[in-house]
C-alpha cells in the first residue's frame, strides 16, 4: 500500500500502472490528490473549481470496470487531471477566468473534455488562468492570482498558471493548457514542469473558449515528457467539429518519448536560433540554456546555427493579430443569452455596454480596443494586413531553418518567474515574456518546454521546436535531454520544489 502523500509524487505513467495492476484504486488516487488540493490550494490557488464528488464518481467507474476485468479505457485510465477553465464542461462551471462568465454552466462538453472522460481520466477541477487566456502571470484572472510553488511570492506564469502550479504543487500529475503565444510553455518553464504546444490543428479547439482562433492550441502539461506524450495521444487527433483540426494520425509521441529516454541523439541536427537568447535574456536563463546545448551535444546531436531574421517582428505582429481576433471573438459576451448581465440603461445597447464594462478586466479591454482599432477601415492594411505578411515571413524563416535542422532550440522565456505585482501594470514588460514562444504560434508549428535547471533557485525552461506534425522528433529530443539532465542532477528538477506551506 502506497501512502496517500506518496501517490501525489508519482508520475502519471506510474499511477496508471499501479491502478491497472490494482495495486491502488483510482478512487484512492483521486482522494489523495483531492486531499492534497485541500491542504495546499488555499495558498497556491491553482483551482477555480474543485469537483470532488464528480472526480471520485468518475474514478470509481474506472475501478469497477477494471475490477470486472475490462481493459482500461486508455493508458491513463484513473489518473487525475487539472483542466484549464477555458474548456467547456457540463458538470462544472466554465469561466475562462472572467467575471463575465461567472457561474456559467455550459450545456455541452468540449471535445478535449469528452476525450478525457472517454479515456477514464479523473478530472479534479478547473484551473485558474488569465482572463480569456490574456496574460503571462495569471494575475489577470478575475478570481485572484495563482502562486508559484517554487516561491509563493512569485507568479507561475500565464495564462495557464493554474495548470502549471497544480503540477508543481503535486495537486495533479496531469493538466491541460492552451497556448496562444506561450501560455503552456512559459508557465511550464516558470514551474519546472513540462508543457507542449502541439501543431496548430493537432488538438481540437471545439469547446475551447477562443482567445485568438488562428493561434490558440490546446496541449498537455505534465511533470515528465512521457506523461505529456501519453496525454497528448489521448487528446490529439482529428475532430469533425473543428474545421481547422488536422485530418491526419496523431504523431507517435509516446513511442518517441520512450525511445528518446534511451538517450542517443546521434545524427540529429539541433538548430540553435541565433536571434533567441543572449541579449535581453537573464544571465541565469542564458546559463541554463547553454548547459542544455552542451548536454544535447553530449547526447550526440549536431548543433547548427540557424537564423530567423523575422522573429524580431513576431511580437509586434502577434499583438495586432491576436487583439483583432479577440475583438471579434469576445463580441458575443453581450448579456443577451448567458453570463453576466448588468441591467443599466433603457435598451439593449446600454445593457451590452454596461455588462462589458463591468464584466471584462483591464487587459481584456485593452486588447479589444487594440483589435477594434487595428481592423478599422483605413487601418486594416497597415496593421492587420502587415501583421499577416510578417506571419508569412516568420513561417518562411521556420521552413528555412527546418531545412537545416530537425528541431530548433531556445530558452523558453527571457527570465525566470517574477514577483507578483512586478509587471501587472506594465503591459509591454509583461508581453516580453512570450518573446521566444510567439513565433511558433504565428507559424502554427510545435514546441515543448522542458525543465533546464535552476537560476537563483527558480526553474528555467529549454524550448524545443519542431515543424508542423513533427512532434515525434520533438518529444524524442525532449525525453533524451530530460533523462540526461535528471541523471546529471541526481533526479528530476521537480523533486527540488520546496514544500508549500499554508
Amino acid at each position: 500500500m502506497t501512502g496517500s502523500s506518496e501517490l501525489t509524487r508519482l508520475t502519471a505513467a506510474e499511477l496508471a500502472e499501479k491502478i491497472r495492476t490494482r495495486e491502488v484504486s483510482a478512487v484512492e488516487v483521486a482522494r489523495a490528490h483531492l486531499d492534497r488540493i485541500a491542504a495546499v490550494d488555499g495558498t497556491v490557488h491553482a483551482f477555480l473549481h474543485v469537483a470532488g464528488e464528480a472526480a471520485v464518481a468518475s474514478a470509481s467507474l474506472v475501478d469497477a470496470s477494471l475490477d470486472a476485468g475490462t481493459a482500461p479505457a486508455s493508458p491513463l485510465a484513473g489518473v487525475p487531471l487539472a483542466l484549464k477553465d477555458v474548456f467547456t464542461t457540463t458538470d462544472m462551471p466554465t469561466t475562462a477566468g472572467s467575471k463575465i462568465l461567472e457561474g456559467w454552466r455550459p450545456p455541452y462538453d468540449a471535445t478535449v473534455t469528452s476525450r478525457l472522460r472517454a479515456a477514464g481520466i479523473t478530472i479534479l477541477g478547473k484551473t485558474n488562468m488569465d482572463e480569456f487566456a490574456m496574460g503571462s502571470s495569471t494575475e489577470h484572472s478575475a478570481y485572484g492570482p495563482t502562486r508559484n510553488p517554487w516561491d509563493t511570492d512569485r507568479v507561475p506564469g500565464g495564462s495557464g498558471g493554474g495548470s502549471a502550479a497544480a503540477l508543481a504543487a503535486f495537486e495533479a500529475p496531469l493538466a491541460i493548457g492552451t497556448d496562444t503565444g506561450g501560455s503552456i510553455r512559459q508557465p511550464a518553464a516558470f514551474t519546472g514542469t513540462v508543457g507542449v504546444k502541439p501543431t496548430y490543428g493537432g488538438v481540437s479547439r471545439y469547446g475551447l473558449i477562443a482567445c485568438a482562433s488562428s493561434l490558440d492550441q490546446a496541449g498537455p502539461c505534465a511533470r515528465t515528457v512521457l506523461d505529456a506524450a501519453l496525454l497528448h495521444e489521448v487528446i490529439g487527433g482529428h475532430d469533425p467539429l473543428d474545421s481547422t483540426s488536422i485530418d491526419a494520425p496523431v504523431p507517435s509521441v509516446v513511442e518517441a518519448a520512450r525511445r528518446g529516454a534511451d538517450g542517443d541523439l546521434s545524427g540529429l541536427r539541433v538548430g540553435v536560433v541565433k536571434e533567441m537568447g543572449g541579449e535581453g535574456y537573464q544571465p541565469g536563463v542564458q546559463a541554463g540554456y547553454e548547459a542544455a546545448l552542451r548536454q544535447l551535444e553530449k547526447l550526440g546531436a549536431e548543433l547548427v546555427e540557424v537564423s530567423c531574421p523575422h522573429f524580431r517582428y513576431g511580437m509586434a505582429a502577434y499583438y495586432l493579430i491576436l487583439p483583432s481576433e479577440v475583438s471579434s471573438n469576445l463580441a458575443r459576451f453581450d448579456a443577451m443569452r448567458y453570463g453576466l448581465r448588468v441591467d443599466k440603461g433603457a435598451g439593449a445597447e446600454e445593457v451590452m455596454a454596461a455588462t462589458r464594462e463591468a464584466g471584462f478586466g483591464p487587459e481584456v479591454k485593452r486588447r479589444i480596443i487594440l483589435g477594434t482599432y487595428a481592423l478599422s477601415a483605413g487601418y486594416y492594411d497597415a496593421y492587420y494586413g502587415q501583421a499577416q505578411k510578417v506571419r508569412t515571413l516568420i513561417a518562411r524563416d521556420f521552413a528555412a531553418a527546418y531545412a537545416k535542422a530537425d528541431v530548433l532550440v531556445s530558452p523558453t522565456t527571457p527570465t525566470a518567474a517574477f514577483p507578483i505585482g512586478e509587471k501587472v501594470d506594465d503591459p509591454l514588460a509583461m508581453y516580453l515574456n512570450d518573446l521566444a514562444t510567439i513565433p511558433t504560434n504565428l507559424a502554427g508549428t510545435a514546441g515543448i518546454s522542458v525543465p533546464a535547471g535552476l537560476a537563483d533557485g527558480l526553474p528555467v525552461g529549454l524550448q524545443i521546436m519542431a515543424p508542423a506534425l513533427g512532434e515525434a522528433v520533438m518529444y524524442r529530443v525532449a525525453a533524451a535531454y530530460e533523462a540526461a539532465r535528471d541523471a546529471e542532477d541526481g533526479g528530476p528538477l521537480i523533486h527540488r520544489v520546496p514544500e508549500v506551506t499554508a
Partner: protein, 501 residues
C-alpha cells in the same frame, strides 16, 4: 420635414434616366443550417432549432455545410457565373441582439460566384440581359420581435423577444451590376428580374423562394441621372420589399420621389429606406451619425473553400432545364398561345398542370381545373394555388372519374370540395358522400316518366321533332335526382320513352 412632392411617372422618365441595382437574399432549403446540424424548417416553436454553434456559445465552432456550398455553386452556374477556385469566409462585425456571435459569417470580398448574367423576358416578349456581379454565401440572423412602442422597431420598444431558429440558416446573396437604360420600364424590369430569378431558383430546387415567409428578400437600389447625361446619380437602397408587386411599386415610387427631390433643387441622400406596403411608399431608415464600420477580416475558424474543376463540372451537369425553355417546350406540346401560357404561369399553375398531366390527365382538362375552379378556391382561402390541400394526382383522378362517366362536372366539383375539406382521396369522398352518378336505368326511368307526365306540352314538342326541347325534361330529372344522374343517359331515356309511348 415636409412630405416630398411626387413627380408624375411620365415626367420622371422624360427628364431622368433611372439606374437599377438589385440585391436578392435567398434562404437555401438545405436540411441543416450553414455551420451546424440544426434543422431549418420554417415555423417551428421559437428557439427549438438551436445548438451551441448557432447560438454562438463560448467555445463552439462552425463547420461549413457542403450541401449549401453545392447549392451556391449551382446557383452561380445557372446564372452563368464563374465559380471562384478559392475563397474564404469573412466576419462582418456589428452588435445586434439577434446575432448570437455579434458578427455575421459571410463571404465578403471572396464570393463563390462572380460575373454572370440572367436574360429576363418582359411582358411584350422582349428580353433584357441583367448582369450579375456576384453571388455569395452567408448566414441568416435570428428574428427579433419588438414589443411595445409605436414603430415595432427596437427603438422605443418596451422589450424584445428573440428567436434564434433562423440564426445560421444558409443565405445566398445575389447582387446585380447596375442596370442602366431601362427608362420607363425600370419597374417592370425589376419585377421581371426577381420573378425570373425566383423561377430559376425554384427549378434548381435550392430554396422555397417564398417572399411572404422571407425565404426570398429583395433590396432595391435606385438612382436617377438627368436624361442623356450618362451620369450615375446618388442611390438609395430600399428594404422590406416583400412581394413581386412591391418590387415594381418600390421602384416606381422611388423614381417619383427622387425626381421630386431633384426637381426641387435638392440632393438625394445615400441611405437605406423601408418600403411601406400599405401606401406603396418608402420612408427613410434611422439615420446613423457615423457610417457603420464592419471591420471585416477573414474568418479564422473556417478553412478556405476551394472547389475542384471536377466538382464544378459535376454540379453543372445537375442543372435542370431552365424555366423559360421549359415553358416554351410545354406551350408547344400543349398548343398554348402566349397569353394562355402567361395566365398559367401567373396563376402559379404550370408545375401543377404538368404534374396533373403526368398523372394521366389531358392538358386541357388539367389546365381548366387548376386555372378555374381550383384557382377560385385558392383565392377564397387566401392561399397560393400550390398550397391547396389537393395533389395533382388527386386532380387527375377526378378528371379520370369524369371521363369514365362515374362523375359529372357538378359531382366532380363536390368531390374536389371534399378533398379540400380533408375528407380523403377522391374515391373516399365519392364513397362517403355517395356521389356516384346514378346510371341505374330502373331508378332513372321512373324519374323520367314522372317528369314527362308533369310536362305533357314538352312531350308534344319532342314528338313534333323539336328534340332540343328535351333539355327542360333533363333539367327536371337532374333536379329530382339531386344532380346525381348521368345527363347523357337521361337524355337518351327521354327520347326512348317519348318515341315508344
Amino acid at each position: 420635414m415636409t412630405a416630398p412632392t411626387l413627380v408624375d411617372f411620365d415626367e420622371v422618365v422624360e427628364r431622368f434616366d433611372p439606374t437599377l441595382g438589385l440585391e436578392v437574399h435567398v434562404e437555401l432549403n438545405t436540411n441543416t443550417k450553414m455551420f451546424c446540424g440544426c434543422p431549418t424548417e420554417f415555423g417551428a416553436e421559437p428557439n427549438t432549432q438551436v445548438c451551441p454553434v448557432c447560438l454562438g456559445l463560448p467555445g463552439a465552432l462552425p463547420v461549413v455545410n457542403r450541401a449549401a456550398v453545392e447549392s451556391a455553386m449551382r446557383i452561380g452556374l445557372a446564372l452563368n457565373c464563374t465559380i471562384a477556385p478559392w475563397g474564404r469566409f469573412a466576419r462582418k462585425n456589428y452588435f445586434y441582439p439577434d446575432m448570437p456571435k455579434n458578427f455575421q459569417t459571410s463571404q465578403y470580398d471572396e464570393p463563390i460566384a462572380v460575373d454572370g448574367w440572367l436574360d429576363v423576358e418582359l411582358e411584350d416578349g422582349s428580353t433584357v440581359r441583367v448582369e450579375i456581379e456576384r453571388a455569395h454565401m452567408e448566414e441568416d440572423t435570428g428574428k427579433s420581435l419588438h414589443v411595445g412602442g409605436a414603430t415595432g422597431r427596437i427603438h422605443g420598444a418596451e422589450y424584445s423577444l428573440l428567436d434564434y431558429n433562423r440564426a445560421g440558416v444558409p443565405l445566398i446573396e445575389i447582387v446585380t451590376k447596375t442596370i442602366p437604360g431601362t427608362g420607363a420600364r425600370a419597374p417592370e424590369v425589376a419585377r421581371a428580374y426577381v420573378t425570373a430569378l425566383r423561377d430559376l431558383l425554384r427549378a434548381l430546387d435550392v430554396s422555397d423562394v417564398r417572399m411572404e415567409q422571407g425565404s426570398l428578400r429583395c433590396d432595391v437600389n435606385l438612382s436617377l441621372a438627368p436624361k442623356g447625361s450618362g451620369a450615375l446619380g446618388t442611390r438609395t437602397e430600399t428594404k422590406n420589399v416583400n412581394s413581386l408587386r412591391s418590387v415594381e411599386r418600390a421602384v416606381r415610387h422611388e423614381m417619383s420621389r427622387q425626381a421630386g427631390v431633384l426637381l426641387a433643387g435638392g440632393e438625394i441622400v445615400q441611405e437605406t429606406r423601408h418600403f411601406e406596403e400599405q401606401g406603396g411608399t418608402t420612408r427613410a431608415g434611422r439615420r446613423k451619425e457615423t457610417s457603420e464600420d464592419y471591420r471585416y477580416f477573414p474568418e479564422p475558424d473556417l478553412v478556405p473553400i476551394a472547389p475542384s474543376a471536377e466538382w464544378v463540372e459535376e454540379l453543372r451537369a445537375t442543372l435542370p432545364e431552365l424555366p423559360w425553355a421549359r415553358r416554351r417546350r410545354i406551350a408547344g406540346e400543349w398548343g398554348l398561345s402566349p397569353e394562355e401560357l402567361r395566365d398559367l404561369v401567373n396563376a402559379g399553375a404550370l408545375d401543377l398542370v404538368e404534374a396533373t398531366v403526368a398523372a394521366g390527365a389531358t392538358a386541357g382538362e388539367a389546365r381548366s381545373w387548376w386555372v378555374a375552379y381550383l384557382a377560385q378556391q385558392a383565392n377564397s382561402r387566401g392561399v397560393e394555388l400550390r398550397d391547396l390541400p389537393i395533389t395533382p394526382e388527386q386532380v387527375a383522378r377526378v378528371i379520370a372519374l369524369v371521363a369514365s362517366g362515374a362523375l359529372n362536372n357538378k359531382l366532380a366539383r363536390q368531390v374536389v370540395d371534399g378533398v379540400l375539406a380533408g375528407e380523403g382521396s377522391p374515391d373516399d369522398v365519392v364513397a362517403a358522400r355517395g356521389l356516384a352518378v346514378v346510371s341505374d336505368d330502373g331508378a332513372l326511368v321512373a324519374a323520367v316518366d314522372e317528369a314527362l307526365a308533369a310536362q305533357p306540352d314538352v312531350v308534344e314538342k319532342i314528338r313534333g321533332g323539336k328534340v332540343q326541347a328535351a333539355g327542360a325534361i333533363v333539367g327536371a330529372v337532374m333536379k329530382a335526382t339531386g344532380g346525381k344522374a348521368d345527363a347523357k343517359r337521361v337524355r337518351e331515356l327521354i327520347l326512348e320513352r317519348v318515341q315508344s309511348a
